[in-house]
Structures are given as C-alpha cells and as structure tokens.
Symmetry: C2
Subunit: 338 residues, 2 copies
C-alpha cells in the first residue's frame, strides 16, 4: 500500500519533510517547526521569517468572505506567526494565483484588504509573484525582527509555569459555523446579525503583535498563536517543551455570543473555545514571577490565566474537577485539517 | 464588460496590484518590480527577499519532470532572482500544497530535490507551510543578502552600456518542446537522447549566483535573470531604465543542439534563444570601462556580449543588419504566459 499525504496528516507530513532537510546551516537561530524561523544575517541582524499558504475552498470560501477579507486574513495569519515569537513584522511578499477569468476588481479588492492589514501593523508589501491557477491561491511570506525582548519559542515552558491567553476564544470557529449555515438557517442568520464580531473574527483576525512583544519582554517562557485550536496549540507547546498541561475549562475566555452559538449548534461552548481554530490569539507559558509584569504590560482585561504547565506529557482539559475529552464536546465538527 | 485578470496579462496585473499598495514604508530600499526587493532591518543589515509560485500544469508538468526536479527548480528560480541583484541567497521558506492522495514518497522526493539545490548553493530551508490542494503547489520565498558589491537593479542601464549574458540560451525552451513531443515523435525522442543538457536546462536550471556577485562587484549598471526570454527581459531592463537596446542576433549564444531542435520544430534558432524563457541565465548592462574587469571575474567563456543600450525606448533584434520581430521567428510557440 502506498503511503499517502493524507495518511500522515498535516503534522506528520511536515515532520517527514523537515527530516529530509538534514541539519540547519550557518545562521539558523530557530529552524523549522516553530511559528516562525529566526535567522542571522551579515552585520549581525536577526530576522524572523514565516510563510503561510491560503487556498480557496480550504482556508477560505468565496461567498463567506469578501476578497478584501481574504487579503486581510492572508497577511494577518502571517503577522500572527511573527507575534508568537515576540517579533515585529516589517515586510511581506505576496504570491497570488488566480483563474484567468477572475475579475481584475476582485484581485484589486484582495490587495486593498491586504494593504489595509499591512498599514495597520506597519508592514510594507515589497514583492511577490502572480500566476494563473484553477482556484484562488494567496501565498504570503513575512520578514520581521525581534521586538525589545528575546525571541520566544515553543520550547521553553517549564512545569509550574502559568498558561495564559490573550483576548477571547472560539469566535472564529463560531463565526464560520454560522456563516456556513446562515443562507439556509434563520437562527444562524439571526445570530450572525446579533453577534457581528463572530463573523469578523473569522474574516479579519487581528494579530496580537503588541501583546507578543510585551510577553517576550516580560519573560514568557514559550508562546504560540492559536491557529489549530487552544487544546492542540497548548499540545504543541508541551510537545516542544517536553512537559504536560492542565487547562481549566471554566477559565477559558469565551468570545461574546459563543454560548448562544453553542446552543444553536448543540455542542459545548468549549468545543468552539478550546477546539475551534483560527482565533490568532496568543497562548503563552509564563513563570509565576513574571506574571505581574506581564499583566501590567498587556493589560489584565486582555489576559486570562487558563491553566498550568505540568510534569509528564498529558494535556488535560478539566471543568469542575472533571477531565474532558475534546471529542466529547463535539470538537470534530469544528477543528480538524482545514 | 468586466475586466478579467487575463485581459491585463501578467505584467499588467502586477502593475495594477502594485498600484494598490501606495508608497513603500520605512526600510524599503528596493520595492516591488525588480527580481528581488531589498529591505533594511534594525542593526543596519540589508536583506534581499523574493518569492515565486510554481503550479502543476502551469510551471511544470508531472511526467516531464520528476518530483525531485520540481523541488530543485522551485528553489532555483528563487535563487536566480537573488543572483540577479548581485546577492547571496541564505534562507528559504517552502509552502507546499498537494492533493491528499499524493504519495508521501512523491513529496519526500520533491523535498530531496529542493534540499539538493539548497545545499549546492549554501541555502538553509528554515520553514514553510503545507496544505491540501487540487494540484501540486510549491510556493517558495528566499531571503538573501548583498554580495561584496552594490545591489544591482533593473533601473541603472545607460545608453552606451554593453549588454551581456551568461551561459547559453534557449536550452530550457528547446528541452521543454522536445519533452512535450518525445512520447509521440521519434525525432523529438532522439534529440532528447542526443542533447541531454536541453531537458536538464528545463528541469534543473542552475542559478548564476557567482556570476551575479561578480557582475555587481565589477560595476554592472543593470541586471535581470532570463525567465521571460531574452528579448522580453532586456525589454524589462530598458523600460525600468528609460532606454532602448539593440541586440545582435548572431552574437546570442545558443545552447548546444538548438539548431537541430529549431530544424525539427521548423522555427528559427533565435525563437528559442531570444524568445524562449526559463533559462535563468543573467542579462546585464555594463559600462564599457567595467567590461574587462567583468570578463576577468566571470570568465570570458561564460560571458557573451550581445548588444548595446541605446537612447529611445525600442528594443531591436538584428541579424545581418536586418531587424527581426520575435513573432516572425515562431516565438509564439514557446514564449507567452506560462
């Protein structure tokens, strides 16, 4: 039997491909496997670099997002990767594949959204490529540099560290679920109207650049952006750091409206908030001694303590002292490979 | 009528999209529109950055190239963009889209080819992304730095400058034409056997990094890599520099076997050598006073003088004193938008 890409899953595949590359060369400070890589250039400057590929029908659906939303998000998810290292994004390259029949106005709107995101975060788009393709492809690479603190990797978490997240979670997954149903489900359509920030969380995520810089300067020991869902992303930190974690379900901050959407969907609110991806908030491990400074720097309203790093390797989600499995929350509907 | 992406053509589209981006921000030394961009990072280091998107069915055809060839080429074309600025490539990001049913071995071979190219030119692959897609997508971004000379843009050519190219031209286009016919045309198959470097020129182009660095140090005034075909790429230099050019047809160096392939195809050899793209040799404008040093640095056998930069804006191809149009050479068969 031939082993297929789909048999390995995204992370298995990445691992196998990275293994083909052998040892990193000179100047590689942080190699493949983190949110961004860090490299040293001549003259001693360190650059952070990252790339993300967004595909129509996989990462976005025309009809649920406007072209300008797609442009915004394609850049924002890359800026979020730089934020997760405690870095400052500076420059972007954008490669665009599009069917020849695509209206030029659609591509111009996509670029306008991209430019809006770039300007919002002080980033210059300096180049890229275009090609004809069957469906829209937006491939972005970003170059940044460290903020005024150290580079924070996934690898530094230690047992006893506090786990924190910025903002509120579940909005993007809830927004996407509603948008997919709104055309044929009146309750979903009403919830889209009532909680407009949910659709916005899916369409126009806000990279937490200021918060990432503050976390690095305050002494966060490990950091990641929440793209695969909180539980999985905390799992990535734990795997990279060689530790486990206990997450406290009742402390996970829920985006406004999540309880209503969970009621509509017939799942637990945590299915969205711990299992749903694409939030682009930051999750971080913080030594207890650094916590006060971090809360001052980020602002206590934007930072929630959600658990603790432990010995071992298990990542546990608990509520009212009961351990929960993501599957039991209905997580399969919202997470996964997209 | 709705204006479509295809109505604008690749260059028209890029121009319109760049126009959406407004003025470049702080730290942008060379913005969009050249082979690579140049940006300044904190600490004063200058980085060269470029990205290219390679799509199955557009830039490569499975069956004509092995997966490892595709990997090699996806990186090589990006390294060539850095070479065309006189730069040294250092780090690469690779985003890979593939159908879920793709054998894992295919993707591993693609990565092995990519790694082979990276090692050959001292480049480290430091990250990227994977996603499921309808067809293979290889999106690469490269970060480099200036060599030991200035950054050479497309904009610096002056009337009186000599036009030079590295290597020999037409091999990639001739190789592709043969490979496309070899399965059903015995003469084509025989030519593939007889001139193996033609297929190799299509499958595994060699970026001219050493030559680009030497050209920058020797004082080349403008440089570009030959991806769109010599005539068009000289046209890009002329447009960016505000000048014209006269190319001497008999001085354009032909890859070995081109005359035979042109005979088989029923076109002029220059259709491949001046019209065919994908060669990834370097074309440069050189002030006459700098020519001797450049010939010494690159080696006279690898450098051909093919014409001169002129006043005005016309790019003319002449042979035996007669002006030629690319169309009349059969160029349409081999150039174009691919």
């Amino acid at each position: 039997m031939t082993l297929k890409a789909s048999d390995l899953g995204e992370f298995g595949l990445i691992e196998r491909l990275i293994a083909r590359l052998g040892t990193p060369g000179e100047g590689v400070v942080v190699g493949p496997g983190d949110d961004a890589a860090a490299v040293r250039l001549g003259g001693g400057a360190t650059a952070l670099v990252t790339a993300d590929l967004l595909l129509e029908g996989v990462h976005f659906e025309i009809g649920l997002s406007s072209p300008s939303d797609v442009g915004w998000k394609a850049l924002a998810v890359n800026l979020s990767d730089i934020a997760a290292m405690g870095g400052v994004p500076r420059f972007a390259l954008v490669s665009l594949g599009s069917p020849p029949a695509t209206p030029a106005a659609t591509l111009e709107q996509l670029y306008a959204g991209l430019d809006e995101c770039a300007r919002s975060f002080g980033v210059s788009v300096v180049g890229g490529d275009t090609a004809k393709a069957d469906r829209l492809i937006v491939s972005v690479a970003v170059v940044g540099e460290p903020g005024n603190g150290p580079i924070v990797q996934r690898t530094g978490a230690l047992p006893g560290d506090v786990l924190c997240v910025t903002g509120a979670l579940g909005g993007a997954a809830a927004g996407l679920a509603l948008l997919r149903s709104a055309s044929h489900d009146e309750r979903a359509a009403a919830l889209v109207e009532r909680f407009p920030l949910l659709a916005k969380a899916h369409r126009r995520p806000v990279p937490r650049i200021r918060e990432g810089i503050a976390a690095a300067r305050s002494g966060a020991s490990a950091m990641i952006d929440i793209s695969d869902g909180l539980a999985r992303d905390i799992g990535h930190i734990c795997e990279a750091s060689g530790c486990g974690a206990v997450l406290s379900g009742e402390k996970i901050p829920l985006a406004e409206g999540i309880d209503d959407v969970a009621g509509w969907a017939g799942v637990d609110s945590l299915a969205f908030a711990a299992g749903g991806g694409d939030d682009y908030e930051l999750a971080m491990a913080v030594p207890p001694a650094a916590l006060e400074e971090l809360r001052r720097a980020i602002g206590p309203a934007s930072l929630a303590i959600i658990g603790e790093v432990t010995e071992g390797s298990d990542v546990t989600l608990e509520r009212d002292g009961v351990r929960m499995e993501l599957d039991s929350l209905g997580w399969d509907h919202f997470g996964g490979d997209t």
